[in-house]
Symmetry: C2
Subunit: 429 residues, 2 copies
């Protein structure tokens, strides 16, 4: 977990402002939920690995000879999707039938840190609740593409797959339904541990070498194919006919137009709540993804009596910033100083005059720092230079007597003395 100093916060806000603007342009509305959820809201939603990474909060005032399950009944949220599902189930009557929401907040995972991976990180989630139409998937892909384009990315790919197609593929490879979840967990690691690693893990999970070869052989085969149509056609052949899952993927492609989407039958996604289409965004220079998501038509029903369909996408703020930093994609003025002008303080007696001038300059829309104590003028100038403030106003004895201000340009060293009422206009020039 990290501290964000001012330049870091400005970069984060630069990205967040664009994310928010694009999501709102698609009619998504903002939602915020508490950092802390009931432990049992989170448990059983993320799969075996996820549950181990939840930060639990110690009960207060309890006796301590209890089992771990009784020491904690609260936990830090692990993602923004499960809290959304809880909110939709709890607030069903306060929300529109098709609730389109975005949420930009931190989540916490007790994971091993890596490049662009932290124990506290921000997710920029966008989800559409209430419809099973593939229009939803298409719009989500369109919204995140727009965000990445606005940020300056031109080389990203949205990898697209379908949980049902994956299960059909596993079935076609001879892996029985009870073993399929295990198999998905292993295949999800293909990027990280390679074909041999996955083969070993499949074997450890009791899946036959024949089945492993069949599924991994198919994945290797389609990874050589160029076109989405070709890949989907091969998948159809492998599973013995065009299934609903294949049809849905075709529909998403048709609704999304030409673009950044590539069908990837090896994409599995770790979280256990996905039921339909799944996505992941990658760029060449980052292992791991900038974001991902998918359809989860069963999750909201776990919190209420109604089964409500849903689909969402999550962008990882820190991942995006890591890549943008490395590529120099931030505007250069993001490193600029904290104020447009500094007002120096000449003496104890004149400090209130300095404060008054600062107030009037702020009234004219300027960001104005008052040097916080009486000090030698040279030292005050030096400080303004050091922290990158371009202009300094000085109110010495003669300026106060005459109702003027002297403005020093820190780059050129030029000074000009103007009437107080004209100071703001002079600074704006």
């Amino acid at each position: 977990m990290r501290d964000f100093l001012p330049v870091d916060v400005r970069k984060r806000r630069f990205v967040i402002d664009i994310v928010r603007e694009v999501y709102e342009s698609f009619g998504f509305e903002p939602l915020e939920t508490p950092a802390v959820e009931n432990l049992d809201t989170l448990m059983g939603k993320y799969g075996e690995e996820g549950s181990q990474l939840v930060f639990k909060i110690l009960k207060r005032g309890e006796k301590l000879d209890l089992s771990e399950s009784e020491l904690a009944d609260l936990a830090l949220r692990y993602d923004l999707t499960v809290p959304l599902a809880r909110v939709v189930a709890n607030h069903r009557n306060d929300l529109p039938k098709f609730f389109k929401r975005y949420q930009i907040q931190p989540v916490w995972r007790a994971d091993r840190p890596a490049k662009g991976r932290f124990r506290e990180f921000y997710q920029c989630d966008v989800d559409a609740i209430g419809s099973t139409s593939m229009i939803v998937e298409a719009e989500l892909c369109s919204a995140v593409s727009r965000i990445l384009e606005r940020l300056g990315f031109d080389d990203f790919t949205i990898r697209l797959n379908h949980r049902e197609l994956l299960r059909e593929m596993l079935g076609a490879a001879g892996i029985s339904v009870p073993s399929q979840t295990d198999a998905l967990v292993a295949i999800d690691k293909l990027d990280k541990i390679g074909v041999d690693g996955v083969k070993k893990e499949l074997s450890e999970r009791g899946i036959s070498g024949e089945s492993a070869d069949s599924i991994l052989g198919f994945i290797a085969e389609v990874s050589l194919k160029k076109g989405n149509e070709e890949i989907l056609s091969a998948a159809g052949s492998f599973i013995g006919g065009e299934s609903d899952a294949v049809k849905e993927l075709k529909e998403i492609l048709a609704l999304s137009g030409a673009g950044k989407i590539r069908i990837d039958p090896s994409l599995a996604r770790g979280l256990s709540y996905y039921t339909g289409a799944i996505f992941e965004i990658s760029v060449p220079d980052l292992a791991g993804s900038l974001g991902g998501g998918g359809r989860y038509d069963g999750l909201i029903g776990m919190f209420g009596k109604d089964q409500i369909p849903a689909c969402g996408f999550s962008l990882g703020l820190e991942r995006i910033i890591v890549v943008m930093d490395e590529r120099g994609m931030f505007p250069t003025d993001i490193e600029n100083g904290s104020a447009d002008v500094m007002v120096a303080v000449w003496s104890e007696e004149s400090a209130s005059e300095s404060i008054a001038v600062a107030e009037s300059l702020r009234g004219a829309g300027l960001r104005v720092l008052v040097y916080p104590e009486v000090d030698k003028l040279g030292k005050q100038f030096k400080y303004a230079s050091q922290i990158g403030i371009p202009k300094v106003c000085v109110l010495g004895e003669s300026e106060i007597a005459e109702g003027t201000v002297t403005i020093k340009d820190m780059e050129s060293g030029d000074q000009v003395t103007v009437k107080r009422a004209e100071a703001a206009a002079s600074l704006a020039r």
Copy 2:
């Protein structure tokens, strides 16, 4: 802890945007810190009551026959001041000599909830590090006043006192130094439990009835006085001469000009880290305060080898919103719908045309919702009305054939059919 639905988030953002804008106009820079701090960073900083309210995070994979102190080594932050002090000590070389920062983030306290008091709440903190000058106190008061004025408050008071003056008063009342911290905790509750309650608590803490009567009598006496000068003069007499603390309070008043500040010798502030001036903002219709702060010249030194002076102010976002809601201070359009226009979907076949029109309208700066599935047009219109979207675009067969869009005004019911390229301009009218 609460969920914030879209209207709530808009209200929060309305306030936060003004807070941020005003803080930046004073040259404060943004900082963000993690929600989770090391437990020992937080312990011993907030006084006896505060420490009990810290949420601790359960260690993972530990044996469970441990004492409570060994079950947790992390905790949720309790305020934004202690994390700031840690950051300043850790990042001394990356920060300017006079670090002026603001920070708007949630904090967590395992407190009993009350009106405007929650277990998760946002603080809007502003602090100036590195100077002992009263210019700092004056600018902080000025910044928070400006914020409240911009939000529409005209009846707030900044109550001002000084920790040293309090100690001098306690000394003058015959309370010895070791008992003074206890006495401060009791006097801090004057608003909540009244004179008799404080007297009882002082007695329970071993303070003589004579001392209690002396200090409470003085507080009652000055509460009748009108002018700040008069109050400070009475305080000077009570403690037997004008102390440095009294001089500092006079200086703050002089630098702040006429205004909202009222000297209040009963103001104690609960947190134990304050060393100098302390403030609290109140409005007539809220028990408790909208915010508060003070000088804490000893805190940063607890995290590093250098003792660095500091002073800050914290506004409570939820308190401000509670009062603004009750008084109807939010702009009425904050309840408005999520989009400027909805594009209806006529058929499976034409869905991609609807998406394309939506994209082009977004390109023109509009917020555009696509109805997320194929449905009867009447139902789609009804939905747009329900969620407050003023215009709906329809692309039926004839519109698609002719390259046009029909735009329906949901309030008047009027319809107009225009060329696609003119749709954005027509909607903007």
